[in-house]
């Protein structure tokens, strides 16, 4: 199956682990990723905050570029990019501008993998079920909100990651902070705010007995993973919670050889937990 793929800027940098795991898992599932030709940045938080025209114009150029490929599905791993692309489509429709009938369906990556047919494919390829792994699924903001943009119907209690974890043989523990904001957009300019929001998430994850947090957003991942030391120091508590991409979990359960390499890029080391659980040598 060929699909159009819009990686977004951070998958070429901070989120290389996410990018590599997506490529690895898609290859295993025979999904061929065709990158949007000469794609540009979606503008992210900065554009929608201070340059509205650009926040529509930048993703609109990507849609135009994507139209060069014949595929009917477009996979977007970054929830921010996903959100901005869908906003551009929505606003162009709203303003009555012609929308391209050739436009592919824009998918949030986790939702694509959680669709029924894909879940069956996932279960069929599991070689090492994630037995004994208790995680919480963390969805953050952008893949589900606002629902008129994302098309989400279960936006207060999303299920995609939970379904994927279950298909892989793991256990996702219920918790109340599935969709609470991690403050990613403020982590650099107001780290005090970011620390407070993330600290709250760690605390709750621990309270419900999670061993790791599963994410599908590279901003959430970086935010929860890279500053964990600092937040621990600030709160005088140790959390040591690995922040794992759902695609890495798929790699683990499929027994893909690249998985260990992806996981070694994390700041909060997930390897001890996975070794102890017998999920990785």
């Amino acid at each position: 199956m060929n699909v159009t793929y819009y990686p977004g800027c951070s998958l070429e940098g901070t989120a290389r682990d996410y990018a590599d795991s997506i490529h690895g898992v898609c290859a295993a599932l025979d999904i061929r990723l065709q990158e949007v030709p000469d794609w540009n940045c979606c503008g992210a938080t900065a554009a929608h905050c201070i340059d509205h025209a650009a926040s529509i114009g930048l993703p609109a150029r990507n849609l135009k570029q994507a139209a060069q490929l014949p595929n009917s599905d477009m996979l977007v791993p970054c929830p921010m990019c996903f959100n901005r692309l869908r906003t551009a489509v929505w606003e162009q429709k709203e303003k009555g501008a012609q929308t391209d009938a050739e436009l592919p369906q824009i998918w949030d990556l986790a939702n694509f993998f959680a669709a029924e047919g894909m879940i069956r494919k996932l279960s069929a390829q599991v070689r090492k079920p994630l037995k004994g792994l208790n995680v919480v699924c963390y969805y953050g903001c952008m893949a589900s909100r606002p629902p008129h943009i994302t098309g989400a119907t279960d936006y207060e209690n999303p299920q995609s990651l939970d379904r994927i974890v279950a298909a892989l043989g793991g256990t996702s523990v219920a918790w109340p902070y599935k969709t609470d904001c991690c403050g990613a957009s403020l982590m650099i300019s107001r780290p005090d705010m970011g620390y407070k929001l993330v600290g709250k998430l760690y605390d709750m994850a621990k309270r419900v007995g999670a061993q790791a947090i599963v994410v599908s957003c590279q901003m959430c991942q970086a935010n929860l993973d890279m500053y964990q030391d600092k937040i621990e120091a600030e709160m005088s508590r140790l959390f040591r919670l690995p922040i794992i991409y759902f695609t890495e979990l798929i790699g683990l359960a499929f027994g893909l050889p690249g998985t260990k390499g992806w996981l070694s890029r994390h700041f909060t080391d997930p390897l001890p937990l996975l070794r102890k659980g017998g999920l990785l040598d």
């Binding site: 800027c9 951070s10 070429e12 940098g13 901070t14 989120a15 290389r16 682990d17 000469d38 794609w39 540009n40 940045c41 503008g43 992210a44 938080t45 900065a46 554009a47 929608h48 905050c49 201070i50 340059d51 509205h52 025209a53 650009a54 114009g57 930048l58 150029r61 570029q65 903001c141 952008m142 909100r145 606002p146 629902p147 936006y155 969709t179 609470d180 904001c181 403050g183 957009s185 403020l186 650099i188 300019s189 107001r190 705010m193 407070k196 929001l197 890279m226 600092k230 070694s264 890029r265 994390h266 700041f267």
Partner: protein, 189 residues
């Protein structure tokens, strides 16, 4: 001109709605937006108060507030508002307006980061993370204070760790359509 409660600018909301529409006039002050907002601890006005003041034409209070800048854009408010008020989008409109009117930001670091980010995109077409933080630190004037307090070491350490773990690209990727990008972005001042 400093606006007082008695000299409201009633055109304020009208002009905003023409740019939106944000449905602000539908607000019946139930405070559902504020009750779910994760950032109230850093705000000087609650989200429902921003909406209320906008309706009342109290432009200066809105545009000078910290709230519009420390809003985390999480969209919880817009999602939950029973009247379809697009609160988060309205906050964005206010930020952009404040920048256009040259109102000094009460959260200079937040504003500087957005500006640095877009300049970065203008230059390469994609974000080059390797330059984002250093340029931001220079631009926001935080470099000086970090040097003074010695906290610059934290930044260097983080950068080094990212590099070691292969999470920092060292060269920017220039796209072919760079010319298109600079015509999409508003000219920088």
């Amino acid at each position: 001109m400093q606006q007082t409660g008695l000299s409201p600018d009633f055109g304020f909301l009208e002009r905003a709605e023409a740019a939106g529409p944000f449905n602000a006039a539908e607000c019946f002050q139930c405070r559902k937006c504020t009750n779910g907002c994760p950032a109230t601890f850093a705000m000087d006005l609650y989200p429902d108060q921003v909406i209320r003041l906008a309706i009342l034409g109290r432009k200066e209070e809105v545009l000078h507030s910290k709230t519009i800048w420390v809003c985390a854009s999480c969209e919880t408010c817009s999602t939950r508002c029973p009247n379809g008020v697009r609160i988060a989008e309205l906050m964005d409109y206010f930020k952009e307006l404040a920048v256009r009117l040259g109102i000094p930001s009460p959260e200079p670091a937040v504003t500087a980061l957005h500006q640095t980010f877009l300049e970065n995109v203008r230059y390469t077409g994609r974000v080059f993370e390797g330059a984002l933080l250093p340029v931001f630190l220079l631009r926001s004037g935080q470099l000086g204070s970090k040097l003074e307090k010695g906290t610059w070491r934290d930044e260097v350490k983080l950068g080094w760790q990212m590099f070691r773990k292969g999470r920092l690209a060292l060269v920017p990727k220039f796209i072919q359509g760079k010319g298109e990008i600079s015509s999409i972005l508003r000219p920088s001042k």
